[in-house]
């Protein structure tokens, strides 16, 4: 990309900014200053890189899925974020923000979670760094992600059930922000995606872009290795996608495809396709594409995947969409479940339902992708979804 940070107002083009209560604004300014200071400090990078290597298990491999490649008639590679510690890319951000929390001298951390992956990754970072941890989670998500709820408790975190709204990710973010308004003086909010008021979208992208940087170094087109023609990633809030897209955005010869949740089908109105079928507005502190009614009330999203069940998206994705840097498409619950089975049976890898959305688009578009080198960001493993899929399959 030709830019690194958002502009002075925290904007990517017209998107982003900080629409937050005055009570929080000083903490957002403090966070921006703390991040700038840390990000320019070689010691911070040394500590982060050491944890990435020895604790998280980075770099994650890029795996050539040969059997599935043959079946689909294309060259499919998987960026194995499912192999990172705790089973998803979320740990990249929570380790980074956990170190920042300590640098700011705060002792308590709050977080929201949808699928539970960010909650687990935050609880993990807090256990590692000796921080108190409270995770807000919608009651519907607590039900469909019971395994991750128990993992968070094992890691010493307190899980708060949120019954507002539909009891999903949007409501958990709102509850975490309300808690933060009251506790901001001693608490840091480790937001889980490239969403929220400035500087969060920028900070989370910086911590996640390691995914794309590793991919570029691994599949560099040299010594018999291909380079990517198409990079595909699922988009809920959009942190795994931002992490893999950012280093490739605007690079000639690489197309980027973000896959949103079509849920029961776009025409039913029960979906999570904020970029594909939403409109610009302010959700959770930033200007971005979102699902809203004619009067600006936020609409409930729907997806079988708790991580994609969100009526907004990171503001930098909104910028990428309008700038034509990424194509945003969507696949339905049913297509995602089929892809979940396909990868499990063909490659021995059980993918997260979020990641299954990315694969489902590749399966659907296999004819136009024939012969191309396609990289799927396998953002997380599917252990957390096994019980839910067992229920779907009956």
């Amino acid at each position: 990309m030709t830019y690194s940070r958002p502009d002075e107002a925290g904007r990517f083009g017209q998107f982003g900014g900080a629409f937050a209560p005055e009570t929080l604004m000083p903490a957002l300014e403090e966070l921006e200053a703390a991040f700038e200071d840390a990000w320019g400090d070689p010691e911070f990078h040394a500590e982060l890189n050491d944890l990435r290597t020895r604790y998280v298990g980075r770099p994650t491999p890029t795996y050539h899925a040969k059997r599935l490649s043959d079946q689909l008639g294309l060259d499919l590679w998987l960026k194995r974020e499912d192999l990172a510690h705790t089973g998803a890319h979320k740990i990249n951000n929570t380790i980074g923000q956990g170190l920042l929390t300590k640098r700011m001298g705060k002792r308590r951390v709050i977080a929201e979670t949808g699928a539970g992956q960010h909650g687990v990754a935050t609880a993990t970072a807090c256990a590692l760094l000796g921080l108190d941890c409270v995770v807000f989670m919608g009651e519907k998500d607590i039900e469909r992600q019971a395994l991750n709820v128990y993992r968070m408790k094992l890691l010493g975190a307190e899980v708060v059930s949120v019954s507002d709204g539909a009891g999903t990710l949007k409501d958990a973010v709102s509850a975490a922000l309300r808690d933060w308004v009251a506790t901001v003086e001693d608490t840091h909010y480790i937001i889980g995606s490239v969403v929220g008021p400035h500087p969060f979208p920028w900070i989370v992208r910086e911590f996640q872009k390691v995914i794309g940087e590793e991919l570029a170094a691994d599949l560099d087109g040299a010594a018999g290795k291909p380079s990517p023609d198409v990079i595909v990633a699922p988009v809920g809030g959009g942190s795994n996608a931002m992490g893999v897209f950012y280093p490739f955005a605007g690079v000639e010869g690489v197309s980027l495809v973000g896959v949103e949740a079509a849920g029961f089908g776009i025409e039913t109105g029960k979906h999570g396709a904020s970029l594909g079928h939403g409109s610009p507005g302010v959700l959770h502190g930033s200007m971005t594409y979102m699902l809203q009614d004619e009067w600006g009330q936020v609409l409930e999203a729907h997806s079988i995947s708790a991580g994609l069940d969100y009526p907004g998206v990171g503001p930098e994705h909104s910028y990428f969409k309008d700038a034509g840097l990424v194509d945003y498409v969507s696949v339905s619950d049913d297509e995602a479940v089929e892809a979940f089975h396909l990868l499990s049976e063909t490659e021995g890898i059980i993918p997260a339902l979020e990641s299954s959305h990315g694969l489902a688009w590749i399966v659907r578009e296999q004819a136009q992708l024939a012969g191309k080198t396609v990289v799927l960001n396998l953002s997380g493993r599917g252990d957390k979804d096994v019980q839910q899929i067992a229920g779907v399959d009956g």
């Binding site: 107002a9 900014g17 900080a18 629409f19 937050a20 209560p21 005055e22 009570t23 929080l24 604004m25 000083p26 903490a27 300014e29 507002d164 709204g165 949007k170 709102s174 922000l177 309300r178 308004v181 009251a182 901001v184 003086e185 610009p280 507005g281 302010v282 959700l283 959770h284 502190g285 809203q292 004619e294 009067w295 600006g296 009330q297 936020v298």
Partner: protein, 259 residues
């Protein structure tokens, strides 16, 4: 409003109530009851489903109003009727997204047309407020700016530079809701604002009892009492019951403030 109250040495009492409860017609009656009991003006909440600055009581009131079909134009209609019926100043409180959805200019034009005196947007910090303030000024509607106990001196200077209709001074670090103890921040925050400006200062957030209202209004120009008002309406099963509860509560607030 503030010139007269300063002249008289009297704190301004601004109750907050969500528009449209229990229904649009009875809603106006409840505001009338509070005006008769001594309210000087009102903050009228436009129902929003995802209110980041509000605690559970005001959030539930918004959800109930939305479930009853109260839309933005309905809420502005209630505000206009309250203005006409009570002949007191009326402030509309909304989150930022409905304003953007209406169009900033269009929203303030609508507000002006309905006689609304000022607009309060709790998720619009001064950093993002310029286009809103410009539209408000053109339409002759006041903009309210916030100062919190966490606001730095640098930010406080910038808040006051926007020349707001008044400063909404946040008494408690947290979302709206009732508190048992009196705020410990009011004195310090009031002193910091007064050292810089003569702008009217109204305290809100966590002011829920007559004693707290009286204490806070002594440090500024007045108080906004929200959750304690909304809760009385939410707990009432009839409009008559709600009106009785509000008449008694607002009278108590009035006497305490007038001391």
């Amino acid at each position: 409003m503030f010139a007269e109250s300063r002249e008289a040495g009297r704190g301004v009492l601004l109750p907050f109530l969500t528009a449209g409860l229990p229904d649009p017609v009875a809603s106006v009656e409840l505001f009338k009851t509070m005006a008769d009991a001594g309210a000087d003006g009102f903050e009228i909440g436009i129902p929003y489903a995802d209110p980041l600055m509000d605690g559970p009581v005001i959030m539930a009131a918004g959800h109930r109003a939305i479930a009853q079909g109260i839309t933005l134009p309905d809420a502005l209609g209630v505000a206009a009727a309250v203005r006409e019926t009570t002949q007191t100043p009326v402030l509309a409180m909304t989150y930022v997204n409905p304003v953007l959805r209406s169009g900033v200019r269009e929203f303030f034009a609508q507000a002006a047309e309905r006689g609304i005196n000022g607009v309060i947007i709790p998720d619009l910090p001064i950093d993002e407020a310029a286009p809103f303030s410009a539209a408000a000024a053109e339409e002759g509607v006041g903009m309210v700016a916030f100062a919190a106990p966490t606001t730095t001196d640098e930010r406080l200077d910038a808040v006051l530079e926007t020349e707001p209709a008044f400063v909404y001074a946040i008494a408690e670090v947290g979302v709206t809701g009732e508190r048992d103890a009196a705020s410990e921040n009011i004195h310090a925050l009031a002193a910091r604002i007064r050292a810089r400006s003569d702008v009217p200062v109204v305290f809100g957030v966590g002011i829920s009892t007559p004693e707290q209202a009286a204490a806070a209004s002594r440090h500024g120009d007045g108080v906004i009492v929200g959750t304690a008002v909304v809760r009385r309406v939410m707990e009432s099963s009839t409009t008559v019951q709600a009106a009785d509860a509000l008449r008694m509560f607002v009278s108590e607030l009035r006497s305490a403030i007038d001391g």
